[in-house]
Symmetry: C2
Amino acid sequence: MATQEQNTLLVAANKLRSNKIKNTPQRQVILSYLMTSHAHPSIEMIFKYVRTNGFSVSLATVYNTLQLFVDHNLIIEIAADSGGHMRYDYFETPHYHVICVNCNKIVDVFDDTYKENEKLATKKTGYRILNSQYEVYGICPDCQKKIDTKISV
Amino acid sequence: MATQEQNTLLVAANKLRSNKIKNTPQRQVILSYLMTSHAHPSIEMIFKYVRTNGFSVSLATVYNTLQLFVDHNLIIEIAADSGGHMRYDYFETPHYHVICVNCNKIVDVFDDTYKENEKLATKKTGYRILNSQYEVYGICPDCQKKIDTKISV
DNA sequence: TTGTTATTGAGAATTATTATCATTTAAATC
DNA sequence: GATTTAAATGATAATAATTCTCAATAACAA
Ligand SMILES: [Mn+2]
Ligand SMILES: [Mn+2]
Ligand SMILES: [Zn+2]
Ligand SMILES: [Zn+2]
């Protein structure tokens, strides 16, 4: 009987096959991690995840693999981290991101009305539109509590 | 009689004053450049602009100044450049950006309906919303011609 | 299997960004 | 206008992020 981990690796392997990307253990585990994680991880988080899960990987391979997935429109890059790090997200179902400017926590909102703007973008600019991304910045509930406490003291 | 350049420097100086930011020649010229340019320049472009216009400036000051302006919500950062460079934009009137994935050209669309999504974001996430950014990716008309020509040859 | 070609990975090289701190400057006060 | 003081500048050092190199390895088509 297959474990959950083995199962997500198989799902990832199939996704790679259907995108005509050569299967490697590194690619499978990185893709399966992005498919199941809600953390919107950074390069460093992905690198650590792969190694702590018993796979060998180099930082160069993480960079190469993520670029490959971006080029295939499997994942998106989010410039969310005030530390200047990119964050990565499996992007099958259109959604947008709400990002805490204090702690960098990213949450999803599964609503695709923002995509409506692509029509006007085409008309106004003549660009051939490929995709679009929407990011909302604010303070998450946890950080609101911390900040409000700090102010009232 | 004031030249156009002197005039935009004065406008920038007033903007700094009204934001209680200490006036320096470097800050004035960087802000006036961002206010009048439609290029959405990178750090390097800003650095060169300031120097070629007869002002002394260091790269450190460009970085510091842009961070200061971002913190004061005078400008926004756009992670647009496939070369990994940030681009900067004076952001008084809400608008969004259409970015060519081939040549990195950025054009404005002055329509703020994308901001409507902020309401749902608050309701769904509990975040206290500060601002939001929308980016559309595609191929600009010039690059469409080049690419289509290449294919047909 | 075997052969071909693409991928991996360790470390070097490069590039981007931030930190340091002596010098200079803005602007508030006299 | 001169004095004062805190803040800004800038040359360069330090750090961190990303890309490059290329020999060894692995995928997979035939
Ligand atoms: Mn997401
Ligand atoms: Mn703009
Ligand atoms: Zn937070
Ligand atoms: Zn273009």
